[in-house]
Amino acid sequence: MSQAVLEPDAAAARGMDLLRFATAGSVDDGKSTLIGRLLYDTKTIFEDQLEAVETASASRGDEYTNLALLTDGLRAEREQGITIDVAYRYFATPRRKFIIADTPGHIQYTRNMVTGASTADLALILVDARKGLVEQSRRHAFLTSLLRVPHLVLCVNKMDLVDWDKAVYDRIADEFTSFAAKLDAPDLTIIPISALNGDNIASRSDKSPWYEGSSLLHHLEHVHIASDRNLVDTRFPVQYVIRPQSTTVTDYRGYAGQVASGVLKPGDDVMVLPSGMTSKIASIETADGPVDEAFPPMSVTVRLTDEIDISRGDMICRPNNAPAAAQDIEAMICWMDETAPLRVGGKYTIKHTTRTARTVIRNVQYRLDVNTLHRDEAAGELALNEIGRVKLRTTVPLLADEYRRNRTTGGFILIDEGTNRTVGAGMIIEAR
C-alpha cells in the first residue's frame, strides 16, 4: 500500500469538528477495502491490528491482506465471512474527527442501514463500476432520503478495472442523478475511485484527469455541515430536573437537556408544553459557567424566571413557534423485529424525545417496496426490514414535529412491552 499522507496533528486537533457518516454496500463493492484505505491513509490502522489481519488473512488462504477483517470483529463474522451488525470506526484528520457507522449490505440490511443513517450527517454509497447501479444502490439511496441524511456521496469504485473509462463513470453518474432526483435526495456528490489502489481517496489521482471534483477525503473534510442543523425552531426537551439536596446550594431548580433545535438565549420568552405555561429564560448554565446562547447539540441546564411545574418529557419552545401536541400520529415505520410483525391493533411503548408513552397501531396505510417504491395498500402488517406508512394513537400527547423538518423531534422508536426489545423506528409525517 502507498504511504500515508495525512496524520492527525496533536496541536490542531483541539479546533476540529465532528462528522458522522454511514457507509452502505456489500463486501463485493469494496466497502471494507475503502474503509480500510481511509483508516490506513489517515494512519488510524495500527501495526498490531495490521499484523493480526495479515495473520488471519494468511490462515484463511486469502491472496491479499483482507482489510475486511479489520472491521469484522466477532467470531461468527470471521467464521462466516459476514458482517452481523453496525460497527463503529473512528479516524481523524487535522480538520475533522470522523465517526463511521459501517453497515452491512446484505443481512438485516434495512434495520442496520436505518440505524446507522439515523445519526449520520452524510451517507456514502458504493457501486462497482463494472456492474453499475444495482437494486441495492437504489435501496440505499432511498433509505438515505427517508432518514433525511443531509449529504450523499456515491463512490464509483473499481475504476481501475474499467481502465478509468470516463464513459462508464458518466453513465453511472447520470443514471444515479436522475434516480436521486425522484427521491428528493439531499446534496449529492459522485466520485470515481479505486479503493484498492487508493486513487481519489486521500488525494486526486492522475488516472482520472477528466474528473474535476475533490478526492473523497477532501470532500469529507470540507463538506459544510454546520447549517444542516435546524437553528430556527427552538426545541428543548426536558431530560432531567436538577434540584440539589444540599446545604450549600439551596432553592436551585434547573431543567437539564440537550438542545434539539433552534437557539436559546437568556431573556427569551418561552412556552412549556404540554401545559402551555409561559415564562422567560433566566439563565442557561453549564458546569463551566453560564453561556450566552445554546444550540444543538449542546447539553445545558435552563433556568426560568417563574416557578412552573415542569418535568421530564416536557418541551420548552417559543410561544409563537411550538411543535404539535398530538395523540394521532402518521409516520413511516421501519420494522426491526424478527420474532413478530407490526400488526393493526398491536400495542407498544413509544419513546419520543425524552417522553415515553404507550401507543396502539390504528392502521397500516401501505407497505413500501424499497426497491421499486411500489405501495402495497393491502399489506396490513409489516415484517422484519419492511417499511410502511402507519397511523398510531398515543396515550398522551407527543410534542412532535414532522421528521423532514426536525430529525430529533420527528423520530421515535417502538418498544415491545413483553420483551423490551426495540422493534420499530418511526419518522413522523403528520402529528395532530
Binding site: 469538528d17 466477532l74 452481523i84 451488525d85 463503529y88 470506526r89 439536596q245 418498544i415
Partner: protein, 303 residues
C-alpha cells in the same frame, strides 16, 4: 435566522454533550445506577463528565471499584482522594474477598482478570444496581466496536452480540426485567486521543504512573512489566531500570508499561498521536490470549 453565525461545535464539545446526555438519561430512567471506577484515565474522564452532568448538584450515584487486589499504590491513593473530594459513596467489590469466601477460585497462573467477572456480577446483585456505567470505548478493541451505548445484559450479566437492540437517533432503550441490567458506555465514541485532549483541556489530574518515570521493569514478549510483589523475576530473567509510563491501568499483574519520555500531558498527546500500536496491544497481556479474548470475556459478563 441569520446563517452568518457558524454555530460551530468542536468535536470535544460534541462528545462531551453526548456523554452528558447519556448520563442524565440513565439517571432519569433507572433506579439504582452506579459508575465503574478503576482509577484508569477513561473512568476518571467519565467521573468528570458525571460531575458536569449534574452540577451544581453532586454526582447522584455511587462508584464501584472491582478490586483485583493487584493494584498500583498510586492508583488506589488517587481513587481514595477523588472519592473524598467529590463526597462519593465508594463500593468495593473485592476479588481477594471472593477468593477467601470461595465465590471464585484463584487461577493456577495467579491472574485475576477472568475471575473478576463473577465478583462484579455478585456485587451488582447485592446492591441491586440496574445500570452500570463503564468507560469502554469502541476504538479499543474489535468486539467493543460493536457495542451499544446501552448494552443489554441478561440475568447472568451476559452480552449477546447477535441480539443487540438497534440504537437510533439519541433514543436509548433502557427497559429491562427485574434481574436484567444495562451496561452504559458514555465514552463509546471517544478515541484514546480524544480522552487525552479532554484531560489536557479540563486540566484533569491523573495517577502519576500515566507519565514517564523511572521504574524497575522486566521485558516479556516485548512488553515491559514492573517488578513488584505481583510480578517476580523468573529464572534467567534480569530486570533493569527504564524510563516508562503506563498507557492503560488494569490489573497490576497483567498491565505492562511502555518506554516513554512523555512526562507532561502535552508530550503524552504527541506520543499517542504518533504511536503505531494500539493501547491494548501494547500493554495488555490479557488481550493476547486469543483473537476473540475480549469477545469471550464480554459474553461472560465483563464490561
Amino acid at each position: 435566522m441569520s446563517q452568518t453565525k457558524p454555530y460551530r461545535v468542536s468535536h470535544l464539545d460534541a462528545l462531551e454533550a453526548e456523554s452528558i446526555f447519556i448520563m442524565r438519561e440513565v439517571m432519569a430512567e433507572f433506579e439504582r445506577p452506579a459508575l465503574l471506577f478503576s482509577g484508569g484515565k477513561d473512568s476518571i474522564v467519565m467521573l468528570r463528565l458525571a460531575e458536569k452532568a449534574f452540577a451544581p448538584g453532586r454526582i447522584p450515584f455511587p462508584v464501584m471499584h472491582v478490586d483485583t487486589g493487584h493494584n498500583f499504590p498510586e492508583v488506589l491513593e488517587y481513587r481514595d482522594r477523588r472519592v473524598a473530594t467529590l463526597g462519593l459513596n465508594l463500593v468495593i467489590a473485592s476479588v481477594q474477598e471472593a477468593i477467601d469466601t470461595g465465590l471464585v477460585r484463584e487461577l493456577p497462573d495467579g491472574t485475576r482478570n477472568r475471575i473478576q467477572t463473577p465478583v462484579l456480577l455478585a456485587a451488582q446483585e447485592k446492591y441491586r444496581f440496574d445500570a452500570l456505567f463503564g468507560g469502554a470505548r469502541r476504538d479499543e478493541e474489535k468486539a467493543r466496536a460493536k457495542e451499544r451505548m446501552f448494552s443489554f445484559r441478561d440475568e447472568f450479566g451476559q452480552w449477546d452480540p447477535k441480539n443487540q437492540r438497534p440504537e437510533l437517533w439519541s433514543l436509548y432503550n433502557g427497559r429491562h426485567h427485574p434481574g436484567e441490567s444495562i451496561r452504559v458506555f458514555p465514552l463509546s465514541n471517544w478515541t484514546e486521543l480524544d480522552v487525552w485532549h479532554y484531560i489536557a483541556r479540563e486540566d484533569i489530574p491523573l495517577p502519576s504512573i500515566y507519565y514517564a518515570h523511572d521504574r524497575e521493569v522486566v521485558e516479556r514478549n516485548g512488553m515491559f512489566y514492573a517488578v513488584n510483589e505481583f510480578i517476580k523475576l523468573r529464572d534467567g530473567e534480569t530486570s533493569e531500570v527504564r524510563r516508562v509510563r503506563y498507557r492503560t491501568v488494569g490489573d497490576a499483574s497483567q498491565t505492562a508499561a511502555v518506554l516513554s519520555e512523555a512526562d507532561t500531558v502535552d508530550k503524552v498527546i504527541d506520543e499517542v498521536a504518533a504511536t503505531r500500536i494500539t493501547e491494548r496491544g501494547a500493554t495488555r497481556g490479557d488481550d493476547r490470549v486469543s483473537e476473540a479474548a475480549m469477545e469471550d470475556r464480554k459474553r461472560e459478563g465483563y464490561f
